[in-house]
Amino acid sequence: MMLLEVERLSLRFGGLEVIRDLSFAVPAGTIASFIGPNGAGKTSLFNLITGFYRPTAGEIRFAGERITGLPPSAVARRGLARTFQNIRLFKTLSALENVLSALHPRTRSGVFAALFRTPGMRREEAWAREEARRALAFVGLQDVADRSAGTLPYGHRRLLEIARAIALRPKLLLLDEPAAGLNPAEKAALADLIRRIRDELEIGVILIEHDMRLVANVSEHVVALSYGEKIAEGPPADVLRHPKVVEAYLGEEAVG
Protein backbone atom coordinates (compact mmCIF):
# COMPACT_ATOMS: atom_id res chain seq x y z
CA MET A 1 0.00 0.00 0.00
CA MET A 2 1.15 3.50 -0.81
CA LEU A 3 1.18 5.73 2.26
CA LEU A 4 1.91 9.03 0.53
CA GLU A 5 0.98 9.73 -3.06
CA VAL A 6 1.78 12.98 -4.79
CA GLU A 7 0.26 13.57 -8.17
CA ARG A 8 1.12 16.30 -10.69
CA LEU A 9 1.84 18.76 -7.93
CA SER A 10 2.76 22.36 -8.80
CA LEU A 11 3.51 25.41 -6.69
CA ARG A 12 4.01 28.92 -7.97
CA PHE A 13 4.94 32.10 -6.15
CA GLY A 14 4.03 34.81 -8.64
CA GLY A 15 6.20 34.06 -11.66
CA LEU A 16 8.44 31.63 -9.83
CA GLU A 17 7.74 27.94 -10.26
CA VAL A 18 8.94 26.24 -7.12
CA ILE A 19 7.49 22.80 -7.80
CA ARG A 20 6.66 21.71 -11.31
CA ASP A 21 4.34 18.83 -12.18
CA LEU A 22 5.76 16.51 -9.55
CA SER A 23 4.51 12.95 -9.00
CA PHE A 24 5.84 10.21 -6.76
CA ALA A 25 4.69 7.71 -4.16
CA VAL A 26 6.14 6.41 -0.92
CA PRO A 27 5.03 2.99 0.40
CA ALA A 28 4.08 2.50 4.05
CA GLY A 29 6.87 1.62 6.44
CA THR A 30 9.64 3.00 4.26
CA ILE A 31 12.54 5.28 5.05
CA ALA A 32 12.77 7.61 2.08
CA SER A 33 14.88 10.66 1.27
CA PHE A 34 14.41 13.81 -0.79
CA ILE A 35 17.70 15.02 -2.19
CA GLY A 36 18.68 17.83 -4.49
CA PRO A 37 20.77 20.98 -4.54
CA ASN A 38 19.77 24.05 -2.53
CA GLY A 39 16.68 25.68 -3.96
CA ALA A 40 15.46 22.47 -5.59
CA GLY A 41 12.15 22.80 -3.72
CA LYS A 42 12.58 20.14 -1.04
CA THR A 43 11.41 22.20 1.91
CA SER A 44 8.60 23.68 -0.20
CA LEU A 45 7.52 20.12 -0.89
CA PHE A 46 7.43 19.40 2.86
CA ASN A 47 5.39 22.55 3.35
CA LEU A 48 2.97 21.44 0.67
CA ILE A 49 2.56 17.97 2.11
CA THR A 50 1.99 19.27 5.65
CA GLY A 51 -0.51 21.93 4.58
CA PHE A 52 1.63 25.03 5.21
CA TYR A 53 1.50 25.84 1.49
CA ARG A 54 -1.46 25.40 -0.78
CA PRO A 55 -0.49 23.90 -4.16
CA THR A 56 -1.27 25.75 -7.37
CA ALA A 57 -2.28 22.45 -8.96
CA GLY A 58 -2.18 18.74 -8.23
CA GLU A 59 -3.15 16.40 -5.47
CA ILE A 60 -1.68 14.87 -2.33
CA ARG A 61 -3.12 11.67 -0.85
CA PHE A 62 -2.17 10.30 2.52
CA ALA A 63 -3.21 6.78 3.54
CA GLY A 64 -5.66 6.86 0.64
CA GLU A 65 -7.30 10.14 1.70
CA ARG A 66 -7.03 13.38 -0.23
CA ILE A 67 -5.35 15.93 2.04
CA THR A 68 -4.71 18.72 -0.48
CA GLY A 69 -5.74 22.08 0.94
CA LEU A 70 -6.26 20.91 4.53
CA PRO A 71 -4.80 23.25 7.17
CA PRO A 72 -1.57 22.10 8.91
CA SER A 73 -3.31 21.11 12.14
CA ALA A 74 -5.74 18.85 10.27
CA VAL A 75 -2.90 17.23 8.34
CA ALA A 76 -1.05 16.58 11.59
CA ARG A 77 -4.14 14.99 13.11
CA ARG A 78 -4.30 12.56 10.21
CA GLY A 79 -0.89 11.21 11.13
CA LEU A 80 1.72 13.35 9.43
CA ALA A 81 4.38 14.81 11.72
CA ARG A 82 7.26 17.06 10.79
CA THR A 83 10.33 18.84 12.06
CA PHE A 84 11.62 22.15 10.75
CA GLN A 85 14.87 22.93 9.00
CA ASN A 86 15.71 25.67 11.50
CA ILE A 87 14.34 23.90 14.63
CA ARG A 88 11.08 25.39 15.81
CA LEU A 89 10.78 24.54 19.50
CA PHE A 90 8.76 26.44 22.12
CA LYS A 91 11.94 27.92 23.51
CA THR A 92 10.76 29.23 26.87
CA LEU A 93 8.88 26.04 27.77
CA SER A 94 10.43 22.92 29.26
CA ALA A 95 11.41 19.92 27.15
CA LEU A 96 8.50 17.98 28.63
CA GLU A 97 6.03 20.76 27.86
CA ASN A 98 7.35 20.83 24.30
CA VAL A 99 6.59 17.15 23.86
CA LEU A 100 3.22 17.54 25.58
CA SER A 101 2.14 19.73 22.67
CA ALA A 102 2.05 16.62 20.50
CA LEU A 103 -0.32 14.88 22.92
CA HIS A 104 -2.89 17.53 22.24
CA PRO A 105 -4.79 15.65 19.50
CA ARG A 106 -5.00 12.51 21.63
CA THR A 107 -6.45 14.28 24.69
CA ARG A 108 -9.81 15.94 25.23
CA SER A 109 -10.00 18.10 28.36
CA GLY A 110 -11.43 21.54 27.78
CA VAL A 111 -12.03 24.66 29.82
CA PHE A 112 -14.59 23.16 32.20
CA ALA A 113 -12.49 20.09 32.95
CA ALA A 114 -9.58 22.41 33.73
CA LEU A 115 -11.61 24.68 36.01
CA PHE A 116 -13.09 21.82 38.04
CA ARG A 117 -10.06 19.54 37.81
CA THR A 118 -12.32 16.60 37.03
CA PRO A 119 -10.99 13.09 37.74
CA GLY A 120 -11.03 12.41 34.00
CA MET A 121 -8.88 15.45 33.39
CA ARG A 122 -6.36 14.45 36.06
CA ARG A 123 -6.13 10.95 34.66
CA GLU A 124 -5.66 12.27 31.17
CA GLU A 125 -3.01 14.74 32.32
CA ALA A 126 -1.03 11.99 34.09
CA TRP A 127 -1.28 9.76 31.03
CA ALA A 128 -0.12 12.55 28.70
CA ARG A 129 2.88 13.29 30.88
CA GLU A 130 3.83 9.64 30.87
CA GLU A 131 3.50 9.44 27.09
CA ALA A 132 5.65 12.55 26.76
CA ARG A 133 8.31 11.06 29.05
CA ARG A 134 8.30 7.90 26.97
CA ALA A 135 8.92 9.91 23.81
CA LEU A 136 11.75 11.79 25.54
CA ALA A 137 13.25 8.52 26.69
CA PHE A 138 13.03 7.10 23.18
CA VAL A 139 15.44 9.74 21.90
CA GLY A 140 17.51 9.62 25.12
CA LEU A 141 16.45 12.97 26.61
CA GLN A 142 14.72 11.69 29.76
CA ASP A 143 17.20 13.53 31.99
CA VAL A 144 16.53 17.00 30.62
CA ALA A 145 12.72 16.84 30.78
CA ASP A 146 12.44 19.89 33.02
CA ARG A 147 14.99 22.11 31.33
CA SER A 148 13.68 24.87 29.12
CA ALA A 149 14.11 24.02 25.46
CA GLY A 150 16.04 27.16 24.60
CA THR A 151 18.85 26.30 27.01
CA LEU A 152 19.52 22.82 25.60
CA PRO A 153 22.63 22.21 23.47
CA TYR A 154 22.11 22.13 19.72
CA GLY A 155 22.18 18.36 19.28
CA HIS A 156 19.63 17.93 22.06
CA ARG A 157 17.35 20.49 20.46
CA ARG A 158 17.36 18.48 17.22
CA LEU A 159 16.49 15.34 19.21
CA LEU A 160 13.80 17.13 21.20
CA GLU A 161 12.12 18.21 17.99
CA ILE A 162 12.10 14.57 16.86
CA ALA A 163 10.74 13.43 20.24
CA ARG A 164 7.94 15.99 19.92
CA ALA A 165 7.12 14.74 16.43
CA ILE A 166 7.01 11.05 17.34
CA ALA A 167 4.84 11.77 20.39
CA LEU A 168 2.17 12.69 17.86
CA ARG A 169 2.12 8.94 17.00
CA PRO A 170 2.16 9.69 13.28
CA LYS A 171 2.10 7.23 10.43
CA LEU A 172 4.72 9.25 8.64
CA LEU A 173 7.44 11.53 9.94
CA LEU A 174 9.02 14.23 7.79
CA LEU A 175 12.49 15.29 8.95
CA ASP A 176 13.90 18.46 7.40
CA GLU A 177 17.72 18.20 7.41
CA PRO A 178 17.94 16.40 10.75
CA ALA A 179 21.70 15.92 10.47
CA ALA A 180 22.55 19.55 9.75
CA GLY A 181 25.18 20.74 12.20
CA LEU A 182 25.71 17.36 13.86
CA ASN A 183 29.14 15.79 14.31
CA PRO A 184 29.95 12.32 12.88
CA ALA A 185 29.17 10.50 16.15
CA GLU A 186 25.83 12.30 16.45
CA LYS A 187 25.08 11.51 12.81
CA ALA A 188 25.65 7.81 13.39
CA ALA A 189 23.33 7.92 16.41
CA LEU A 190 20.76 9.75 14.30
CA ALA A 191 20.86 7.04 11.61
CA ASP A 192 20.24 4.52 14.36
CA LEU A 193 17.38 6.54 15.78
CA ILE A 194 15.72 6.86 12.38
CA ARG A 195 15.86 3.08 11.92
CA ARG A 196 14.46 2.53 15.42
CA ILE A 197 11.61 4.95 14.71
CA ARG A 198 10.64 2.87 11.71
CA ASP A 199 11.30 -0.58 13.21
CA GLU A 200 10.07 -0.13 16.79
CA LEU A 201 7.41 2.54 16.36
CA GLU A 202 6.39 1.52 12.85
CA ILE A 203 6.50 5.10 11.63
CA GLY A 204 7.51 5.76 8.03
CA VAL A 205 10.20 8.41 7.63
CA ILE A 206 11.02 10.86 4.85
CA LEU A 207 14.09 12.98 5.29
CA ILE A 208 15.52 15.91 3.43
CA GLU A 209 19.23 15.44 3.64
CA HIS A 210 22.43 16.76 2.12
CA ASP A 211 24.72 14.20 3.69
CA MET A 212 24.80 11.54 0.97
CA ARG A 213 26.42 8.96 3.22
CA LEU A 214 23.51 9.23 5.64
CA VAL A 215 21.06 9.04 2.73
CA ALA A 216 22.75 5.94 1.32
CA ASN A 217 23.02 4.46 4.80
CA VAL A 218 19.41 4.71 5.99
CA SER A 219 17.06 5.21 3.07
CA GLU A 220 15.38 2.59 0.97
CA HIS A 221 13.84 4.99 -1.50
CA VAL A 222 15.19 8.27 -2.86
CA VAL A 223 13.50 11.08 -4.80
CA ALA A 224 15.91 13.54 -6.42
CA LEU A 225 14.72 17.05 -7.25
CA SER A 226 16.23 19.87 -9.24
CA TYR A 227 14.55 23.20 -9.94
CA GLY A 228 11.25 21.83 -8.71
CA GLU A 229 11.23 18.82 -10.97
CA LYS A 230 11.84 15.18 -10.25
CA ILE A 231 15.03 14.07 -11.99
CA ALA A 232 15.32 10.57 -10.56
CA GLU A 233 13.54 8.17 -8.20
CA GLY A 234 14.39 4.71 -6.93
CA PRO A 235 16.80 2.84 -4.63
CA PRO A 236 19.63 5.02 -3.29
CA ALA A 237 22.40 3.15 -5.11
CA ASP A 238 20.77 3.89 -8.46
CA VAL A 239 19.62 7.44 -7.80
CA LEU A 240 22.91 8.66 -6.34
CA ARG A 241 24.71 7.44 -9.45
CA HIS A 242 22.09 8.75 -11.87
CA PRO A 243 23.79 11.07 -14.42
CA LYS A 244 21.25 13.88 -13.90
CA VAL A 245 21.75 13.78 -10.13
CA VAL A 246 25.51 13.85 -10.49
CA GLU A 247 25.17 16.74 -12.90
CA ALA A 248 22.86 18.70 -10.61
CA TYR A 249 25.28 18.38 -7.69
CA LEU A 250 28.38 19.00 -9.81
CA GLY A 251 26.72 22.09 -11.19
CA GLU A 252 26.16 23.32 -7.70
CA GLU A 253 29.71 22.66 -6.64
CA ALA A 254 31.10 24.33 -9.75
CA VAL A 255 29.08 27.47 -8.94
CA GLY A 256 29.31 27.42 -5.15
Binding site: S73, L89, A102, H104, T107, G110
Partner: protein
Protein backbone atom coordinates in the same frame (compact mmCIF):
# COMPACT_ATOMS: atom_id res chain seq x y z
CA UNK B 1 15.94 21.63 46.44
CA UNK B 2 15.66 23.12 49.94
CA UNK B 3 16.16 26.57 48.48
CA UNK B 4 13.18 26.24 46.18
CA UNK B 5 10.96 24.74 48.87
CA UNK B 6 11.96 27.57 51.19
CA UNK B 7 11.03 30.09 48.53
CA UNK B 8 7.76 28.30 47.86
CA UNK B 9 6.93 28.29 51.56
CA UNK B 10 7.91 31.94 51.94
CA UNK B 11 5.66 32.94 49.09
CA UNK B 12 2.83 30.81 50.49
CA UNK B 13 3.24 32.55 53.81
CA UNK B 14 3.25 35.96 52.18
CA UNK B 15 0.08 35.12 50.24
CA UNK B 16 -1.70 33.90 53.36
CA UNK B 17 -0.67 37.03 55.26
CA UNK B 18 -1.85 39.26 52.47
CA UNK B 19 -5.22 37.53 52.26
CA UNK B 20 -5.69 37.73 56.00
CA UNK B 21 -4.89 41.44 55.91
CA UNK B 22 -7.40 41.95 53.09
CA UNK B 23 -10.12 40.11 55.00
CA UNK B 24 -9.49 42.18 58.13
CA UNK B 25 -9.10 45.45 56.25
CA UNK B 26 -12.77 46.56 56.63
CA UNK B 27 -12.31 46.64 60.42
CA UNK B 28 -9.81 49.46 60.22
CA UNK B 29 -10.46 51.17 56.89
CA UNK B 30 -12.63 54.18 56.24
CA UNK B 31 -15.44 53.89 53.73
CA UNK B 32 -13.32 55.82 51.26
CA UNK B 33 -10.50 53.29 51.29
CA UNK B 34 -12.96 50.43 51.30
CA UNK B 35 -14.32 51.83 48.08
CA UNK B 36 -10.87 52.22 46.53
CA UNK B 37 -10.00 48.62 47.33
CA UNK B 38 -13.33 47.36 46.06
CA UNK B 39 -12.51 49.06 42.77
CA UNK B 40 -9.08 47.48 42.80
CA UNK B 41 -10.59 43.97 43.20
CA UNK B 42 -12.88 44.83 40.39
CA UNK B 43 -9.98 45.69 38.10
CA UNK B 44 -8.19 42.53 39.23
CA UNK B 45 -11.09 40.50 37.80
CA UNK B 46 -11.19 42.50 34.57
CA UNK B 47 -7.43 42.39 34.13
CA UNK B 48 -7.33 38.63 34.77
CA UNK B 49 -9.98 38.20 32.08
CA UNK B 50 -8.17 40.35 29.55
CA UNK B 51 -4.93 38.58 30.42
CA UNK B 52 -6.30 35.39 28.89
CA UNK B 53 -6.46 37.20 25.55
CA UNK B 54 -3.34 39.35 25.74
CA UNK B 55 -1.08 37.44 28.11
CA UNK B 56 -1.90 33.80 27.46
CA UNK B 57 -2.78 33.91 23.76
CA UNK B 58 -0.73 36.95 22.73
CA UNK B 59 -3.61 38.78 21.05
CA UNK B 60 -4.51 42.43 21.42
CA UNK B 61 -8.06 43.30 22.45
CA UNK B 62 -8.73 47.05 22.53
CA UNK B 63 -12.44 46.89 23.14
CA UNK B 64 -12.56 44.85 26.31
CA UNK B 65 -14.90 47.36 27.93
CA UNK B 66 -17.54 46.31 25.40
CA UNK B 67 -17.94 42.91 27.09
CA UNK B 68 -18.01 44.57 30.45
CA UNK B 69 -20.78 46.83 29.05
CA UNK B 70 -22.72 43.87 27.66
CA UNK B 71 -22.72 42.23 31.09
CA UNK B 72 -23.67 45.41 32.90
CA UNK B 73 -26.49 46.31 30.51
CA UNK B 74 -27.86 42.76 30.46
CA UNK B 75 -28.20 42.80 34.24
CA UNK B 76 -29.36 46.39 34.27
CA UNK B 77 -32.14 45.86 31.73
CA UNK B 78 -33.26 42.46 33.00
CA UNK B 79 -33.53 43.59 36.62
CA UNK B 80 -35.14 47.00 36.06
CA UNK B 81 -37.41 46.35 33.06
CA UNK B 82 -38.24 42.67 33.47
CA UNK B 83 -37.67 42.32 37.23
CA UNK B 84 -35.54 39.21 36.82
CA UNK B 85 -33.61 38.28 40.00
CA UNK B 86 -29.92 39.19 39.83
CA UNK B 87 -28.55 35.65 39.92
CA UNK B 88 -30.62 34.66 36.90
CA UNK B 89 -29.18 37.55 34.89
CA UNK B 90 -25.66 36.22 35.39
CA UNK B 91 -25.86 33.26 32.98
CA UNK B 92 -27.70 35.46 30.46
CA UNK B 93 -24.91 38.03 30.60
CA UNK B 94 -22.23 35.36 30.23
CA UNK B 95 -23.99 33.81 27.24
CA UNK B 96 -24.45 37.15 25.53
CA UNK B 97 -20.81 38.10 26.10
CA UNK B 98 -19.68 34.74 24.71
CA UNK B 99 -21.90 35.10 21.67
CA UNK B 100 -20.60 38.56 20.86
CA UNK B 101 -17.07 37.27 21.40
CA UNK B 102 -17.62 34.69 18.68
CA UNK B 103 -19.28 37.13 16.30
CA UNK B 104 -16.45 39.65 16.62
CA UNK B 105 -13.56 37.26 17.09
CA UNK B 106 -14.23 34.77 14.33
CA UNK B 107 -13.91 37.07 11.30
CA UNK B 108 -10.92 38.93 12.71
CA UNK B 109 -8.99 35.91 13.97
CA UNK B 110 -9.31 33.98 10.75
CA UNK B 111 -7.00 36.61 9.26
CA UNK B 112 -3.93 38.20 10.66
CA UNK B 113 -4.44 38.24 14.37
CA UNK B 114 -3.44 41.89 14.66
CA UNK B 115 -6.65 42.81 12.88
CA UNK B 116 -8.31 41.76 16.10
CA UNK B 117 -6.94 44.89 17.76
CA UNK B 118 -8.72 47.29 15.48
CA UNK B 119 -11.88 45.20 15.11
CA UNK B 120 -12.27 45.09 18.88
CA UNK B 121 -11.63 48.82 19.05
CA UNK B 122 -14.42 49.34 16.51
CA UNK B 123 -16.67 46.93 18.39
CA UNK B 124 -16.11 48.87 21.60
CA UNK B 125 -17.29 52.01 19.87
CA UNK B 126 -20.30 50.26 18.32
CA UNK B 127 -21.44 49.07 21.73
CA UNK B 128 -20.95 52.46 23.34
CA UNK B 129 -22.73 54.35 20.55
CA UNK B 130 -25.55 51.81 20.44
CA UNK B 131 -26.05 52.06 24.20
CA UNK B 132 -26.17 55.83 23.82
CA UNK B 133 -28.77 55.77 21.05
CA UNK B 134 -31.27 53.11 22.10
CA UNK B 135 -34.18 53.80 24.44
CA UNK B 136 -33.91 50.26 25.81
CA UNK B 137 -30.47 51.11 27.21
CA UNK B 138 -31.65 54.44 28.56
CA UNK B 139 -29.80 56.53 25.93
CA UNK B 140 -27.09 58.87 27.17
CA UNK B 141 -28.30 58.92 30.78
CA UNK B 142 -28.14 55.11 31.01
CA UNK B 143 -29.97 52.87 33.44
CA UNK B 144 -30.50 53.70 37.09
CA UNK B 145 -32.34 52.18 40.02
CA UNK B 146 -30.79 48.76 39.51
CA UNK B 147 -31.88 46.83 42.63
CA UNK B 148 -29.32 45.58 45.13
CA UNK B 149 -28.92 41.84 44.80
CA UNK B 150 -29.79 39.07 47.20
CA UNK B 151 -27.21 36.32 47.13
CA UNK B 152 -28.19 33.06 48.87
CA UNK B 153 -30.70 34.83 51.10
CA UNK B 154 -28.30 37.57 52.09
CA UNK B 155 -29.12 41.04 50.76
CA UNK B 156 -26.01 42.93 49.71
CA UNK B 157 -26.31 46.56 50.75
CA UNK B 158 -23.34 48.07 52.52
CA UNK B 159 -19.94 48.94 51.16
CA UNK B 160 -18.55 46.18 53.32
CA UNK B 161 -20.82 43.65 51.63
CA UNK B 162 -19.51 44.62 48.22
CA UNK B 163 -15.94 44.70 49.47
CA UNK B 164 -16.22 41.07 50.52
CA UNK B 165 -18.17 40.06 47.43
CA UNK B 166 -15.51 41.44 45.11
CA UNK B 167 -12.63 40.17 47.21
CA UNK B 168 -14.05 36.66 47.03
CA UNK B 169 -14.80 36.93 43.32
CA UNK B 170 -11.27 38.20 42.66
CA UNK B 171 -9.79 35.24 44.55
CA UNK B 172 -12.05 32.78 42.73
CA UNK B 173 -11.12 34.31 39.36
CA UNK B 174 -7.45 34.12 40.24
CA UNK B 175 -7.65 30.44 41.17
CA UNK B 176 -9.66 29.67 38.06
CA UNK B 177 -7.07 31.39 35.90
CA UNK B 178 -4.28 29.47 37.55
CA UNK B 179 -6.01 26.19 36.80
CA UNK B 180 -6.62 27.26 33.24
CA UNK B 181 -3.01 28.30 32.76
CA UNK B 182 -1.69 24.89 33.79
CA UNK B 183 -4.15 22.88 31.76
CA UNK B 184 -4.19 21.42 28.28
CA UNK B 185 -6.01 24.51 27.03
CA UNK B 186 -3.60 26.91 28.73
CA UNK B 187 -0.65 25.10 27.22
CA UNK B 188 -2.22 25.26 23.76
CA UNK B 189 -2.41 29.06 24.13
CA UNK B 190 1.23 29.19 25.14
CA UNK B 191 2.29 27.03 22.19
CA UNK B 192 0.44 29.28 19.77
CA UNK B 193 1.88 32.41 21.36
CA UNK B 194 5.40 31.04 21.14
CA UNK B 195 5.26 29.58 17.64
CA UNK B 196 2.00 29.30 15.81
CA UNK B 197 3.35 27.11 12.99
CA UNK B 198 5.00 24.62 15.30
CA UNK B 199 1.76 24.39 17.28
CA UNK B 200 -0.21 23.74 14.10
CA UNK B 201 2.29 21.06 13.10
CA UNK B 202 1.40 19.32 16.37
CA UNK B 203 -2.28 19.22 15.44
CA UNK B 204 -3.37 22.28 17.42
CA UNK B 205 -5.77 24.48 15.47
CA UNK B 206 -4.53 28.04 16.15
CA UNK B 207 -7.77 29.68 15.08
CA UNK B 208 -9.88 27.59 17.42
CA UNK B 209 -7.74 28.31 20.44
CA UNK B 210 -7.38 32.00 19.73
CA UNK B 211 -11.14 32.22 19.46
CA UNK B 212 -11.50 30.26 22.69
CA UNK B 213 -9.14 32.68 24.47
CA UNK B 214 -11.09 35.61 23.15
CA UNK B 215 -14.41 34.12 24.26
CA UNK B 216 -13.14 33.18 27.73
CA UNK B 217 -11.93 36.76 28.12
CA UNK B 218 -15.31 38.04 26.95
CA UNK B 219 -17.19 35.90 29.47
CA UNK B 220 -15.05 37.08 32.39
CA UNK B 221 -15.59 40.68 31.26
CA UNK B 222 -19.35 40.11 30.98
CA UNK B 223 -19.53 38.58 34.46
CA UNK B 224 -17.60 41.49 35.91
CA UNK B 225 -20.13 43.77 34.23
CA UNK B 226 -23.07 42.17 36.01
CA UNK B 227 -21.44 42.82 39.37
CA UNK B 228 -20.57 46.36 38.31
CA UNK B 229 -24.24 47.03 37.55
CA UNK B 230 -25.51 45.95 40.95
CA UNK B 231 -22.70 47.62 42.84
CA UNK B 232 -23.17 50.98 41.12
CA UNK B 233 -27.01 50.68 40.78
CA UNK B 234 -26.63 53.06 37.82
CA UNK B 235 -24.73 52.60 34.56
CA UNK B 236 -24.10 54.98 31.66
CA UNK B 237 -22.45 54.55 28.25
CA UNK B 238 -19.46 56.69 29.19
CA UNK B 239 -18.24 54.09 31.72
CA UNK B 240 -17.50 51.75 28.83
CA UNK B 241 -15.44 53.87 26.46
CA UNK B 242 -12.07 53.29 24.89
CA UNK B 243 -10.23 54.71 27.89
CA UNK B 244 -11.77 52.05 30.10
CA UNK B 245 -10.38 49.40 27.74
CA UNK B 246 -6.97 51.07 27.75
CA UNK B 247 -6.95 51.18 31.54
CA UNK B 248 -7.59 47.44 31.81
CA UNK B 249 -4.95 46.75 29.17
CA UNK B 250 -2.51 48.88 31.11
CA UNK B 251 -3.15 46.81 34.23
CA UNK B 252 -2.31 43.64 32.31
CA UNK B 253 0.86 45.04 30.79
CA UNK B 254 2.15 46.97 33.77
CA UNK B 255 2.36 44.06 36.16
CA UNK B 256 3.43 41.31 33.84
CA UNK B 257 1.87 40.03 30.66
CA UNK B 258 0.70 36.49 31.20
CA UNK B 259 1.92 36.21 34.79
CA UNK B 260 -0.98 36.13 37.19
CA UNK B 261 0.57 37.78 40.28
CA UNK B 262 1.87 40.51 37.99
CA UNK B 263 -1.58 41.11 36.57
CA UNK B 264 -2.97 41.52 40.10
CA UNK B 265 -0.20 43.97 40.90
CA UNK B 266 -0.99 45.89 37.70
CA UNK B 267 -4.66 46.16 38.59
CA UNK B 268 -3.81 47.57 42.03
CA UNK B 269 -1.37 50.03 40.47
CA UNK B 270 -3.88 51.51 38.02
CA UNK B 271 -6.35 52.09 40.85
CA UNK B 272 -3.91 53.29 43.49
CA UNK B 273 -1.60 55.44 41.34
CA UNK B 274 -4.30 57.97 40.38
CA UNK B 275 -5.29 58.11 44.08
CA UNK B 276 -1.71 58.93 44.93
CA UNK B 277 -1.46 61.75 42.39
CA UNK B 278 -4.83 63.43 42.47
CA UNK B 279 -3.40 66.87 41.80
CA UNK B 280 -2.08 65.66 38.43
CA UNK B 281 -5.40 64.14 37.40
CA UNK B 282 -5.35 65.71 33.94
CA UNK B 283 -1.90 64.21 33.32
CA UNK B 284 -3.22 60.73 33.91
CA UNK B 285 -3.65 59.48 30.36
CA UNK B 286 -0.58 61.27 29.07
CA UNK B 287 1.48 59.49 31.71
CA UNK B 288 -0.25 56.18 30.99
CA UNK B 289 0.67 56.54 27.32
CA UNK B 290 4.27 57.38 28.14
CA UNK B 291 4.34 54.46 30.57
CA UNK B 292 3.13 52.05 27.88
CA UNK B 293 5.86 53.19 25.49
CA UNK B 294 8.52 53.00 28.17
CA UNK B 295 7.41 49.55 29.31
CA UNK B 296 7.55 48.18 25.79
CA UNK B 297 11.06 49.55 25.33
CA UNK B 298 12.61 48.69 28.62
CA UNK B 299 10.58 46.04 30.38
CA UNK B 300 8.07 44.36 28.06
CA UNK B 301 7.72 41.46 30.50
CA UNK B 302 6.15 43.75 33.13
CA UNK B 303 7.12 44.95 36.59
CA UNK B 304 6.68 41.65 38.42
CA UNK B 305 10.15 40.15 38.99
CA UNK B 306 11.15 37.93 36.10
CA UNK B 307 10.88 34.23 36.79
CA UNK B 308 12.02 31.42 34.56
CA UNK B 309 9.81 32.52 31.73
CA UNK B 310 10.17 35.55 29.53
CA UNK B 311 7.96 37.32 27.06
CA UNK B 312 8.33 35.90 23.59
CA UNK B 313 10.84 38.30 22.12
CA UNK B 314 12.30 36.20 19.37
CA UNK B 315 11.64 38.66 16.62
CA UNK B 316 8.40 39.27 14.90
CA UNK B 317 8.43 35.52 14.32
CA UNK B 318 7.05 34.85 17.78
CA UNK B 319 3.63 36.19 17.00
CA UNK B 320 3.80 36.27 13.27
CA UNK B 321 4.64 32.62 13.02
CA UNK B 322 7.35 33.00 10.44
CA UNK B 323 11.06 33.38 10.34
CA UNK B 324 12.87 35.55 7.90
CA UNK B 325 9.65 37.24 6.99
Amino acid sequence: MTATSFRARASQGATAGLLLALFLFPRVASNYWLDVFTSAFFYVILALGLNVVVGFAGLLDLGYAAFFAIGAYTTGILTTVYHVPFLLTVPAAAALAALSGVVIGAPALRLRSDYLAIVTLGFGEIIRITAKNLTLTGSASGIYGIPRPTVFGHALKTQQDFYYLLLILAIVTYLAMRRLEHSRVGRAWKYIREDEDAAAAMGIDPFRYKLLAFVVGAVVGGLAGTVFAVRMTAIAPESFGFMQSVLILLAVILGGLGRLPGVVLGAFLIVLLPEAMREFASWRYFLFGALLIAMMHFRPEGLWPAGRRKMPQSGRAALNGGDGR
